[in-house]
């Protein structure tokens, strides 16, 4: 049955109640970089973080490259031109030496977490989850360090990893998502503020789920998180990422980069619930989410599994991918993307089969409502050496109402005669008779929609760790409220 932590989570979720309640702004003094983007900005960020020379050089190289690049336009998303000079690229809560306990943390921050329904202290005690809470780019509390230390797991803010584990960072940073990869990844490489670093040593099964709560707070501050997770041979780690952001009128840019590396027989499970501010019902405001997430199954028999529940953001541009380099490696992508009102989501995955006997599985559930546009875009590519490679893809779209769009754009490429790829896609709506059946049995409309949509998404929800699954189910319902009838 449910652990106290799960019950706790359920209780919190229940309190989330009817509407998007994360719309508030915490008033904390910010330490800002000057507005705009230049070499000066990059140097300012690097200096603020007391980075070594090599890191600054890396950033500057990325910045120079970025200047020569163009914003990608191929996705089915439309938004006003972003003025990259009209934003702040660094904001950190002031006076922020590393804290040993929660008592040292700014009470206002803790209050923010409480409003979000994340009682950090209780959660640590009850759930056995180590929380590295990122508050506007800089980590303020790192917990459960000792337990992880015992296991030899490194779980720390990215800035700390640069200082304390430079060899690991140098060895892996930018090896999955190269500095030159794409416009937003390159931008991130130049100005990333902070993020999370995880290293799981050989043969270690990480003793707890690792979780980081991201939160965008400062007005007009782009968020450029950088995450690097390395699972050494025969290790296992499950990482949870959950996001909420305060309500804002200005559009906020978010361009994170996540790199995963799995060595021989290692497994990484990466789960995301993304519930950033989607804009209001007229399409005003909301987060622009341009994310590059990629995992490299570098070792034989390694496995990387992405699970995402995307309910928020005005614009989602996100393709968590797997490079299946090692023989017998496995890549998975489980996705729920909900777009309501004027939201636009263009999301999917790439499964690049390089090694022999590699397997991949893609399950995508897209739900469109209101005037939203929701696109699945995916690539399955089998290279010549990927003997006996296997892929199975299932893409289902659900439309709610006649003013939204659901689109499926799969690219299926094979260069090996022994490989097998299967792809299926369907489009449906919530049937009137399903709704009537629920209503007749006494279930109110919004709850009926939530029930039916959760049923539609079940295969993906099942992939989430328990704490997330409960929250995600609630979010599915909340994000579609009022969409029928």
């Amino acid at each position: 049955m449910s652990s106290p932590a799960q019950l706790e989570t359920k209780a919190q979720v229940a309190e989330i109640g009817d509407k998007y309640k994360y719309g508030f702004v915490t008033d904390i003094e910010m330490d800002m970089a000057p507005k705009g983007l230049s070499e000066e900005t990059v140097r300012f960020i690097s200096a603020k973080k007391n980075e070594p020379e090599w890191m600054l050089e890396w950033r500057l190289a990325a910045f120079r490259r970025w200047l020569s690049m163009k914003e990608p336009k191929w996705a089915r998303v439309h938004y006003p031109q972003i003025d990259f000079q009209d934003a702040y690229y660094y904001a950190a809560p002031k006076n922020n030496p590393l804290k040993q306990s929660l008592n040292e943390v700014d009470p206002k921050l803790l209050e923010t977490y409480n409003k979000l329904g994340i009682p950090l202290n209780e959660q640590m005690a009850l759930a056995g989850v180590a929380v590295d809470a990122v508050f506007d780019s800089v980590s303020v509390a790192t917990t459960f360090k000792e337990k992880l230390n015992e296991a030899g797991v490194i779980f720390c803010p990215f800035s700390e990893a640069i200082r304390d584990h430079p060899d690991l960072v140098k060895k892996y940073l930018g090896t999955v998502v190269p500095v030159t990869d794409n416009y937003y990844a390159t931008l991130n490489s130049a100005v990333f503020s902070d993020g999370t670093f995880v290293f799981v040593p050989k043969g270690v099964r990480c003793p707890m789920e690792l979780s980081t709560y991201f939160r965008i707070n400062a007005s007009e501050t782009g968020q450029f998180e950088r995450t690097l997770i390395i699972a050494d041979a025969d290790s296992f780690v499950s990482y949870l990422e959950g996001c909420t952001a305060p309500k804002r009128d200005e559009n906020q840019l978010h361009a994170a980069v996540v790199e995963l590396v799995a060595l021989d027989h290692a497994e990484i499970k990466y789960s995301t619930v993304q519930n950033w501010y989607p804009g209001d019902e007229n399409g005003k405001g909301g987060i622009y989410n341009f994310v590059t997430k990629r995992g490299d199954c570098r070792g034989d028999h390694s496995k990387i599994s992405w699970t995402q529940v995307e309910t928020g953001s005005a614009i989602t541009w996100k393709y968590p991918s797997c490079i299946l380099r090692g023989d017998h490696s496995v890549g998975e992508f489980y996705s729920i993307a909900i777009a309501n009102n004027y939201q636009q989501a263009d999301t999917g995955t790439k499964m690049i089969h390089l090694g022999a006997n590699t397997k991949s599985r893609i399950i995508s559930k897209g739900i469109s409502a209101g005037k939203a546009q929701n696109t699945y875009r995916g690539l399955v590519s089998i290279y010549g050496k990927a003997k006996n490679a296997r892929n199975y893809t299932q893409c289902d779209s659900l439309l709610i109402g006649g003013n939204c769009g659901a689109h499926t754009v799969p690219y299926i490429e094979s260069r090996n005669p022994t490989a097998r790829i299967e792809h299926e896609a369907t489009t449906s709506k919530i049937a009137e008779d399903q709704l009537f059946y629920c209503l007749q049995r006494g279930i109110p409309q919004d709850e009926a929609v939530s029930l039916i949509v959760n049923g539609f998404c079940k295969e993906v929800l099942q992939q989430l760790p328990m704490e997330f699954a409960v929250e995600a189910q609630k979010l599915v319902g909340i994000s579609l409220e009022g969409s029928v009838g």
Partner: protein
């Protein structure tokens, strides 16, 4: 309990019920019989409150309240239950989850507290056993891949869990073999009580051998054309609808 007067209903602009009058007291079982297209299913959907079924004239009073004015789910909470001819499949939603959600939705509406997961489980298990609904069935997605008999048994199981005041059984016998029919009928009979009224809609007399009604109404072309006791069913069976309907016209 239920008082229908001069009910006119249109579906997609076409008038299906043309002045139907019917009254049922608590504890009674009434049967509606009639040929295909006579409006039997329309009557059941109107009582349950399905959208697209527009009442253009007449009244439906249920326990002193105007049923027309009530939302579908409110009718359910107030005890109106429709066992459907074609129970709907909802992929991904387990039967157990559905039962729990529906039961607690109704309870909340009535101002009662939620039953917790264990309470629901106990209740459902006890009732399921009586109706030969297996544990495995409860774990499967609602009605998905169920046989015709399983679907109908699940409808009756829901009826016994929700304990409605007015149960409408729409062609519950359709698609059932004789054993399944007997099982379903036994389930229904077990739920007969002085507080509960039932409206059994059927095309054939066969079901009424097992669920013996207090009164039978024959529906044709949107109107009640004949009424009588249980012997009317036998007459219908012997002479056919054409005879009775023709006589009335």
């Amino acid at each position: 309990m239920l008082d229908i007067k001069n009910l006119h209903v249109t579906v997609g602009g076409k008038e299906i019920l043309k002045g139907l009058t019917l009254s049922i007291q608590p504890g009674q079982v009434h049967a509606i019989m009639g040929p295909n297209g006579s409006g039997k299913s329309t009557l059941s959907f109107v009582l349950a409150g399905r959208s697209g079924y527009d009442v253009t004239e007449g009244s439906i009073i249920y326990n002193g309240e105007d049923l027309k004015a009530m939302a579908t789910e409110d009718r359910a909470a107030k005890g109106v239950f429709l066992a459907m001819q074609y129970p709907v499949e909802i992929p991904g939603v387990t039967t157990m989850t559905f039962l729990k959600t529906a039961l607690n939705s109704q309870r909340r509406k009535r101002g009662e507290s939620d039953l917790d997961a264990i309470g629901v489980l106990k209740l459902v298990r006890a009732k399921a056993k009586e109706l030969n609904v297996s544990e495995e069935m409860l774990k499967r997605a609602l009605n998905v891949g169920f046989s015709g008999g399983e679907k109908k048994r699940l409808e009756i199981l829901q009826m016994s869990i929700f304990e409605p005041k007015l149960a409408i059984l729409d062609e519950t016998d359709s698609g059932l073999d004789i054993d399944a029919l007997r099982l379903v009928a036994e389930g229904v009979n077990a739920l007969r009580s002085p507080e509960r009224a039932m409206l059994v809609i059927t095309h054939y007399q066969r079901l009424l051998d097992y669920i013996v009604p207090d009164r039978i109404h024959v529906l044709a072309k949107g109107r009640i054309v004949a009424e009588g006791g249980k012997e009317l069913a036998l007459e219908l069976e012997a002479k056919g609808y054409e005879h009775i309907v023709g006589q009335a016209a």
